[in-house]
Amino acid sequence: MPSEQSRLRVSQTNGVTTVEFLDRNIIDEARIQAIGDELAALIDAQPKPKLLINFASVDHLTSAALGTLILISNKVRDRGGKLRLANIDPQIKEVFHITRLDQLFSIHPTTADALGTFD
């Protein structure tokens, strides 16, 4: 569960765990690792996790952060769950597009849009 050093804000809505990043820059490798560990713990806490990642506050990320998101996506899939991404800044969305990861992830304009796709 998130500790005092948590890099995430976590909430529950109708069985969906929504997480929001507290960092504007997801760049530092140690922080990316910490975020990955926190997300993994959230996934492990549910039998069929429904996870929504809200990017509203994120201005920058790196390829290392994308790698961690792929690990998280695999972990959710392995547990029979669903992962959605939402509220991605246009500049960051372009990174997903350039890397073609917009085809690997289910990306939605808003958290409300994403919440409607879990059932």
Binding site: T62, A64, N74
Partner: protein, 147 residues
């Protein structure tokens, strides 16, 4: 004829170790100059992303197997019309052509290997020295964004 980065030299060089504070310091120096020349937001994003990816590649891949205290050098020139950046590690170098294309279907789920392609996507030019331990990157200011 537009300037190419290959024959240009960086005005400033900084040596840094793999410590977040040192990486942030050099990124802040470059981005402070970028801001002084009033580059638009997408340019700032492109330069920050490419510089970060190049530095991480140097420490993570360039220095793989070396003493973690081994330093890299970052060279930069920021002008009104262009930003030139070099990142040089002390490793044996690599062959850029050997890096798999991360956008191919079979590589899409790989958890690493996207740094170089992002640098190529966001910068105007990216090149390596023959040994493969120094990357050069040139960003040309978009024509419609003069301050």
């Amino acid at each position: 004829m537009p300037a190419t980065g290959h024959n240009q030299h960086a005005e400033h060089w900084v040596e840094l170790r793999n410590h977040r504070a040192e990486i942030d310091a050099v990124e802040d120096r470059v981005l402070d100059l970028v801001d002084r020349f009033s580059y638009p937001r997408p340019s700032r994003f492109a330069i920050k992303l490419s510089l970060e990816e190049a530095i991480i590649n140097a420490f993570k891949h360039g220095h793989e197997g070396l003493d973690p205290a081994t330093s890299i050098r970052v060279g930069y020139t920021v002008a009104a019309d262009r930003v030139l950046i070099f990142v040089e590690d002390q490793g044996p170098g690599f062959t850029p052509a050997d890096v798999p294309d991360p956008t191919l279907d079979e590589n899409l789920a790989n958890t690493s290997g996207r740094g170089l392609m992002l640098m190529r996507a966001y910068m105007s030019e990216v090149w390596h020295n023959e040994r493969g331990n120094r990357v050069g990157m040139l960003y040309r200011r978009p024509p419609d964004s003069t301050p």
